[in-house]
């Protein structure tokens, strides 16, 4: 049998018809020659040959790939059946679409963040170079999101290595396009000269940066724009090449635009501008990171040379480490820091999927959400399986007749499966459409005002395979069992039972009850998860930080050297604070080195009597108004005051935890301590003059720990170009305009951002908000699906017991009794389901522990609330069939038999 013949079997058949005709003609002619009349001759020929249609059918059949032909029949038949029950089809397709769509959307994010390679040439040969500290830690200033290397280490590595075909350093950074006034943030990356060449990125306009652009003292540095930024900010005007773009008040020359698909190395973000590393020296000449041996801010990525394995690269990096770390030793390390530093080694690991802080923050939540969406899909499958079972009962007679006239069981199972699969496929197609907009909404919900999120959500084979896999899996899940069940009935029985589904209904209703129990159990897990995550968000938003953040605004001011020379910054900032304090409505204002609860940290090692102490206390440098602005009450001692100057004895205010940690008393007024400093540097003794109440420091999720506050008035070092102020206003408004005016009167070129502290803090709850929102959505969806399932089963049971109920009513049972009969039945199911669900929830609780705040996965209130909510839903779902049962007219019910 050939495919060609299969595809051309119609023509083939025509030829056979002609062949048979030719037989008839020859036979007829012979018969005539034997002396028959033409009519007789023809009839005899026909008799001789037999049934021509039958012959042709036999041959036609031989020419078909039976499987395909009958699947074609099945599909047509299934389409007809599904069209005939549009309500069923609609419910089935919609619930599948929701489940599949949600799962696919979440998977799309996981794919984009975790699985997909960077949009560069041969991403698999890229490796990330990092430092193995061998159990010790690095000391110094950590800036940027990927503070893995210092520039001296990078420069040394670049010269010493032989394993990479190309290697580069890069660092994400935020720039400001503003030349005065409100800030215009631009997301940028510092890149070394080999960046674009090593990645294999091509320009779509002009040229990209090369080694020639990244030389120390780079003059007027060049800048490359991303395609998106060029379109957004410059309306894709090719004339921008050669023009000047100011970034942090440094003029850059635009030399090119990257190809559109390149979004940078950071999954979840998109760069606007790429600038050469050498230009870092121009940003703040007083604070050049390029030469600082303890400023960790770079990430180094290399492309393995052909034939070099990762193992060989690691061996070589390991070999050149001692010389490298000896040559780049930071000058003012303590002895222990220096010893640890000298023992560091370089290691390389695959970097084909790029860097991402989003990835580490959202990996677990996303996999968890995928699991949750999967459970919802399972609950939906339970409903569909129930519906399919009900339909199978209704079609029992039809199936029995088909079995009786010779259809094989497999044939019928297959036909029912084709129906399931068509439903699943329709659901998957609709779901895929849904997923596209859902995943975009998801991405948007990850973004905050300060950190827009860009995730390339283009479909790839993984997503297609995932969706298709879901379709097949779900169709088997909800279709296979009902299909097998449906064909188990002996045809004779079914036909005799008159299509009323008598034969094995006991077994089948047990199955349906089991499905509902499973649905309720899974729903409980999902509802509990929803409550846990909602509770976590609530707890975070209402967590006691020890201070009052509402009514506080955060204002950052960055001045340019032209406006305010470095020498007069301290005076300028002091005046500015005073001027802001005079704005009507402002109750208090204080500079703060660290804005609390936004993730920033400064800490150091306390030394007492020559001993290095653990833990590290957190540090903040503030003005005297800080404690009033943040509403942190004093426990003992005094606040900072004007007598605390750079030359007066050093004083500190600590919280109670500080006293407990180092002095064994919550109020160590008058005690002194110092910090770990190199032998050749002064290490002043700080005297504790005040104790304040414990507060959270960088993160609401953290425990209360030791904090020490220093007075900004005692700070002898010249301030940097930026000042951050905390401003409390009486009405809680954000005094943006007055602050802008106050700043610009003194420094027209200064750049200012102002925002509510609570908004900033809220933005750090993004992950919890995502979990709370989505798990609530899924929880409600699951509960509704389970309720629909329960409703369906109870309705089915009531319908099946019509006669019995009729008899009971006729014998004098009250309607209330009948209702109770039905409710008791459903209560049993719900109780078993809830019990099972509680066990499941406890078992699954471990997976979410790390994502919760202020409650545990086995919180009895949450579990009780979830169970009560579901039970109530269940009662409502049962009420309708129960009412229907009690309203049954006994005569009608009995007459039907």
């Amino acid at each position: 049998m050939s495919w060609r013949r299969f595809l051309r079997r119609a023509r083939w058949d025509a030829e056979r018809a002609e062949e048979l005709r030719s037989y008839l003609e020859i036979e007829t002619a012979e018969n005539v020659s034997r002396g028959m009349t033409p009519e007789e001759a023809r009839a005899a020929a026909h008799r001789r040959l037999g049934n021509t249609t039958r012959i042709r059918e036999d041959i036609y059949e031989m020419n078909t790939v039976r499987m395909f032909a009958t699947v074609g029949q099945d599909v047509r038949y299934a389409a007809r059946v599904l069209r005939r029950s549009p309500a069923f089809t609609l419910v089935a397709v919609l619930s599948l679409a929701l489940g599949i769509g949600a799962s696919t959307a979440i998977f799309q994010l996981i794919d984009a963040m975790r699985l997909r390679s960077l949009p560069v040439a041969h991403p698999n040969a890229l490796v990330d170079v990092s430092i193995e500290t061998h159990g010790t830690g690095r000391t110094g200033r950590f800036t940027s999101r990927y503070p893995r290397m210092t520039n001296p280490i990078w420069e040394h590595l670049r010269e010493a290595q032989h394993v990479f075909e190309g290697v580069f350093a890069w660092s994400p950074a935020s720039f400001d396009r503003s030349t005065g006034g409100a800030s215009r943030p631009v997301s940028g990356i510092w890149v070394s000269g080999g960046f674009f060449e090593t990645l294999g990125v091509r320009p779509s306009l002009g040229r990209l940066l090369g080694p020639a652009d990244d030389r120390r003292g780079c003059g007027t540095p060049a800048v490359v724009l991303s395609d998106a930024f060029w379109r957004r900010e410059f309306a894709a005007n090719p004339g921008v090449i050669g023009t000047t773009l100011p970034l942090d008040a440094v003029p850059y020359t635009i030399v090119g635009v990257t190809e559109p698909r390149f979004f940078g190395l950071e999954v979840g973000r998109r760069f606007d501008v790429a600038v050469p590393l050498c230009a870092e020296a121009l940003r703040d000449p007083a604070d050049v990171q390029l030469d600082r041996r303890q400023d960790w801010w770079l990430d180094v990525v290399g492309r393995l040379a052909p034939g070099v394995t990762l193992a060989r690269a690691n061996a070589e990096l390991n070999g050149l480490s001692p010389a490298l770390f000896a040559a780049t030793m930071p000058p003012n390390y303590t002895a222990s820091d220096a010893k640890a530093y000298a023992a560091f080694t370089l290691t390389a690991e695959p970097a084909g999927t790029g860097a991402s802080e989003l990835r580490s923050a959202y990996s677990q939540p996303l996999w968890l959400l995928l699991g949750i969406a999967g459970l919802v899909l399972l609950v939906a499958c339970g409903n569909l399986a129930n519906l399919m079972l009900a339909r199978a009962s209704a079609r029992e007679r039809e199936l029995a007749v088909r079995l009786a006239i010779g259809a094989s069981r497999w044939r019928i199972v297959r036909q029912l499966l084709v129906e399931s699969f068509m439903l699943a496929a329709a659901g998957a197609i609709l779901g895929a459409g849904l997923a596209a907009s859902l995943s975009r909404a998801l991405v948007a919900s990850l973004a905050t005002a300060d950190a827009p999120v860009f995730v390339d959500l283009g479909a790839d084979w993984r997503i297609l395979a995932f969706t298709a896999g879901l379709a097949v899996l779900t169709s088997l899940l909800f279709g296979l069992m009902p299909a097998i069940r449906a064909t188990r009935t002996a045809p004779g029985l079914a036909i005799r039972a008159g299509g009323r589904g008598m034969s094995d209904s006991r077994e089948r209703s047990r199955l349906r009850r089991g499905l509902v129990v499973g649905q309720i159990a899974l729903s409980l897990v999902l509802v509990a998860a929803a409550l846990l995550f909602a509770g976590t968000l609530y707890n975070l938003q209402h967590a006691d930080s020890g201070m009052q953040t509402s009514g506080v605004a955060v204002a950052s001011v960055t001045v340019r050297p032209e406006d305010v020379p470095e020498a007069s910054r301290a005076v300028f900032f002091r005046d500015l604070v005073a001027r802001v304090g005079r704005i009507p409505g402002v109750e208090g204002v204080t500079p703060a080195a660290i804005v609390p609860l936004l993730g920033s940290i400064a800490n150091d090692t306390v030394v007492l009597d020559g001993h290095r102490m653990k833990p590290y206390p957190n540090i903040n440098v503030v003005g005297p108004a800080f404690f009033a602005v943040m509403r942190i009450p004093f426990i003992a001692g005094r606040n900072f005051d004007p007598t605390d100057t750079p030359v007066s004895p050093k004083v500190a205010i600590v919280d109670e935890a500080f006293g407990r940690a180092y002095f064994g008393t919550p109020q160590p007024i008058g005690r002194g301590f110092s910090f770990d400093r190199p032998a050749d540097q002064p290490s002043p003794v700080w005297r504790i003059v005040g104790v304040v109440r414990n507060t959270k420091y960088s993160d609401l999720r953290d425990d209360l720990g030791p904090i020490v506050y220093f007075a900004d008035t005692q700070d002898a070092d010249p301030p940097g170009p930026s000042l951050t102020m905390l401003v409390r206003t009486a009405a809680g408004q954000v005094p943006t305009e007055p602050i802008l005016r106050a700043v610009h009167k003194a420094a027209p070129g200064a750049v200012v951002t102002v925002g509510r502290l609570d908004d900033r803090i809220d933005a750090t709850f993004q992950r919890e908000r995502l979990m709370a929102t989505l798990s609530s959505f899924f929880g409600v969806l699951a509960a509704v699906l389970a309720a629909v399932g329960l409703y369906g089963v109870m309705s089915y049971l009531v319908a099946r017991r019509r006669t019995e109920i009729g008899i009971r009513l006729a014998l004098g049972a009250t309607r209330l009794r009948i209702m109770r009969l039905v409710l008791t039945e459903s209560t049993g199911l719900v109780a078993v389901g809830l019990a099972l669900g509680l066990l499941l929830t406890m078992a699954a609780g471990r997976a979410v522990g790390a994502l919760l705040f202020g409650l545990t996965a086995t919180n009895p209130w949450i579990l009780a609330l979830a169970a009560a909510g579901l039970a109530l839903t269940a009662v409502l779902a049962t009420a309708i069939p129960a009412r229907r049962a009690s309203r049954l007219s006994p005569t009608t019910a009995l007459r039907e038999d």
Partner: protein, 122 residues
Amino acid sequence: MPKRGTPPIQEDLLQGTLDVLILRTLTFGPAHGHTIAHAIERRSDDVLQVEHGSLYPALHRLEDRGWIASFWGTSENNRRARYYRLTPLGRRQLVQQTNRWDALVAAVNRILRPAPDEPGRT
């Protein structure tokens, strides 16, 4: 899908028999369906009454296996007819099938005509 290869004789005795008869008939040269049907009847002295219609699926099957090939030609009395001829593969098959048939007949004969002196069991 139709099976390829030779089906075991005991499973499909008649079909296999018809196949081998067709192959044998075609050893005398190409022929069309009508000729083949009559030839089989004639050569078996009308013992084998083939239903002529069943011949065509068999022809199709044989052609499908590549044992015979077909072409359109003109019959003795000037009518268009589909002719079949034996392929080399078919010729080999005929030898094989004939051997199997002989073996079968011999086996059946041994059973049907037992040694005459066997004491009867009652």
